[in-house]
Subunit: 204 residues, 2 copies
Amino acid sequence: MEQRAAQRSGAVDKRRQILDAAVTVFARQGFHATRVSDIADEAGVAYGLVYHYFNSKDQVLNELFLERWSLLLAAIEEAEKTDASHRDKLGACAGFIFESYRHDPRLMKVIIVEVTRAANSFGRTHLEEIRRAYAGIARIVADGQEAGEFRADIDPRFASQAFYGAIEQLLTEWIFDDVEVADARFEEARNLLVTTICDGLEPR
Amino acid sequence: MEQRAAQRSGAVDKRRQILDAAVTVFARQGFHATRVSDIADEAGVAYGLVYHYFNSKDQVLNELFLERWSLLLAAIEEAEKTDASHRDKLGACAGFIFESYRHDPRLMKVIIVEVTRAANSFGRTHLEEIRRAYAGIARIVADGQEAGEFRADIDPRFASQAFYGAIEQLLTEWIFDDVEVADARFEEARNLLVTTICDGLEPR
DNA sequence: TGCTCCTGATTGACCCGTCAATCGGTTTTC
DNA sequence: GAAAACCGATTGACGGGTCAATCAGGAGCA
């Protein structure tokens, strides 16, 4: 799965090309409604080549998901390590997710719609990786509680679900609208979230 | 669509039987993975009869969704009308949703997984109804702001997304776990939510 | 009561389009 | 020259939806 072989001389990396094309069509039509031939066409590549690089249509999506999700997990771990306030740590997590959307809205659309929220198909497959993210956020909340920064009477896992759920719902609206989101909105969204949730978590 | 004809003498309402069976199999296998024959088998009814009562497999799901969602919309409107605090109004909305899950977890699973979160298929189809719920919640937030009960520097639509997103994410976890949820957990979940979000919305 | 007719519910075999995946071949590259 | 990359026609499973045939019970009639 990690052969990703050093590409020959000037040849374009067809594999990458296929992955990128897949993002485009998955985002446009949804995973289920895209035929493998759509991916190949979009990539300007022969049908069979998709199967040369991937075992199945599923594997293409898996690869796209893991590629990005591993970055998120790394970002959360990174946030944990800093010595910022716990509020800021949560802000960093939210920031990374919003940033991912800004960086490539279509990829995030695919990940959210086809994996993260797809409880019957890929969501189940990748449950472990997905939950690892929730757990990371929950750890930050728990630490914040121990430090007296957050109120202690709320289950950290509950809090992390609410936090993550709120983020995803905001993104989902942008996804549905399929509208260009101004840069300022990203900052705004992140601040809103951290403000609302973290203020709600503050000790009374 | 509303013929639902006076059923002959002692005959069971086959139509209802089919809908109930559909909930069972959709919840178990997911909409996409269930064949129409699965529904018929589960209902103990012939394949063709499903098409006698419904135009398509899609219509079966639509019916299930609308049946429940219209109750939610009514509940939100109801909450708006009371003269409770706005915090309590939001609590009532969250309460109704959690209550729906308690009442029939499988139906809520189907609605959330196959409609509400299915941005590519039924989510798009029912976008209008879904958004009507968000809008109702946003109205409550806006009213609360006007009454000075909530801070005014947060877009009510943002707040409603965060609120609804948090609820759905909590439910999603229960759905994934597929585990019996103790009654006490429902109360706890509702209180947590209202506490976290509403405290976060309080004026500072 | 017994018979026929009629209506609409019910049945399930079958048609038919749709893809995912395979495979045998050709071209490129080293 | 051989291995890897590339091509796209072909296959075969699969499942939604159709429809002609059957069945059951009520109405009309004598």
